[in-house]
């Protein structure tokens, strides 16, 4: 993203969140209670953002990102067009503190909105000239639109799949090499563990023999007798 894009986007974001800026609202002309003004502000911000994106898409060299940007713009446009009837209804409402000229101006603003929205370039081959007077023209335009878009979207999808496959292939190759590296190590571990197990077995058998020897009754009796003698002597000494 170039610096200009960043600046445009930051501007639009600031504009969008201006309504939360209490100081600005107190001093400014956008009133907090006026639903129309709020919604209109939001729509304006969206239009500005879409215009910024359209410019970026026009400059974009990478086809996939241009197509993605255009798709986003089209989505935003559709959403905004849905908001327009809401705005019209709000424009009809009487708000206190509003002069009759401003009221009339609001209506005009709302009427001008659909044109502005449609005028945002979204990368389709034939930009709509005057959508307000020929709905049929716009319909054919839409048909042409849907013809071009799937192919580009498909290319884009295939590109993403190809990238993912490349990553997978690389990972698989690396895993293969790692396995090759581990094989001799595992063999070594195997032989070492076998040796250690044999040693342990041997040791266990010898230990068993030794304990058995110790347990032979003669030694045991002698041990007990000697112990008794020692205890006797100790008791005698401490008495």
């Amino acid at each position: 993203m170039s610096v200009i894009d960043i600046l445009t986007r930051v501007d639009s974001i600031c504009k969008k969140y201006d309504k939360y800026d209490i100081e600005k609202q107190k001093g400014g002309n956008v009133s907090g209670d006026d639903a129309f003004a709020r919604l209109y502000g939001v729509v304006e911000a969206d239009i500005e953002a879409s215009l910024g994106k359209a410019e970026a898409a026009a400059k974009e060299k990478n086809k996939a990102s241009a197509v993605a940007l255009n798709a986003e713009i089209r989505r935003t446009k559709a959403r905004l067009l849905e908001e327009v009837p809401k705005l019209q209804r709000l424009a009809m409402k009487k708000v206190k503190g509003l002069s009759p000229e401003e009221f009339a101006a609001r209506n005009d603003l709302v009427l001008a909105l659909p044109d502005r929205i449609q005028a945002i370039p979204d990368g389709t081959a034939t930009a709509p000239k005057q959508t307000s007077w020929t709905t049929s023209a716009s319909r054919t335009e839409i048909k042409f639109d849907s013809g071009v878009e799937p192919i580009q979207a498909r290319d884009q999808g295939l590109d993403m799949i190809s990238e993912g496959l490349d990553t997978l292939k690389n990972m698989a190759h690396d895993m293969n090499e790692e396995m090759d590296r581990q094989v001799p190590l595992m063999d070594e571990i195997d032989s070492k563990v076998d040796r250690a197990a044999a040693d342990l077995k041997n040791t266990n058998v010898r230990l068993k023999d030794t304990v058995n020897q110790l347990r032979s009754s003669r030694n045991f009796c002698i041990d007990i007798v000697l112990l008794c003698i020692i205890l006797g002597i100790a008791a005698y000494l401490y008495k």
Partner: protein, 295 residues
Amino acid sequence: MAGSDPQKLMTKADKLTQLSLTRWSADWKNASVLYEQAANGFRVAKNYDKAKLAFEKASKGQEMLSSPWDAAKHMEAAAALAKELGNWSEVADFYRKASELYNECGRSQPASDALAKAARALEDAVPEDAVQLYIDACEILEEDGKEQMAFDLYRAATNVYIKLEKYTDAAAFLLRLGLAADKCNATNSQCKAYLGAIIVYLYAHDIKQAEKCYNDCSQIDAFLRSDQNRCASKLLSAYMEGDIEEIKRLSQSSTISNLDHMIIRIARKLPTGDISGLKMDAGKEDEPLDENDLT
């Protein structure tokens, strides 16, 4: 005994090893044990200097007892403490000694590991020594036929060379990595190494060398059949045509993004210098050929 003052243990151990009229041979066995305990005590007390000394003496004791494995382990511990103290020459020395002792045991992997640890510790402070240590570590492994383990070391050494901006050395190392990979049939690593070498040459703006490298590598079957070969040929032809956009596009491609991160970084910075000059050279080269064809 374990709880007593490490200094006392040290003096006791010293007494055991000092020869005098009453003592005709040093009692290394007990002394080593005491030295080890003293060293651990110092380490816990964060007295790194004394701990290092104690580990050194313990290592010497174990050596006297003909147990090189324990001696090497103590040496490594001493080297780690030297690293804490920032005493770089001692770090290198200790790790080298430890590596020799491991070699005495006949265990090449720990020997090369010791050198690799030394190199990693010295990477920032004394990179030239670090590179030398990496080279030695790789040689130990190669002698023993364990080239697979050496890949990481080669890559680390290449990174250090790139940081030092010694691009020919870095490329040479990558070619060595390719050779090692060839011996173990690790074709993926091999091709990535060759592509990396070509990119390093291009980054150093040594186009002739890059082309030569590419021609050499194309002799190898495995490389010829690989994705990396295609990427390399596209990159070189883009350079020949002076097409900067194409170069930038290729450096973003997934083939290059699968390489080592240092190489990705320099690839993203391509092209360095002026490629339009190359285009002119290519044009001039064609002319004498055309004349020959006409006559």
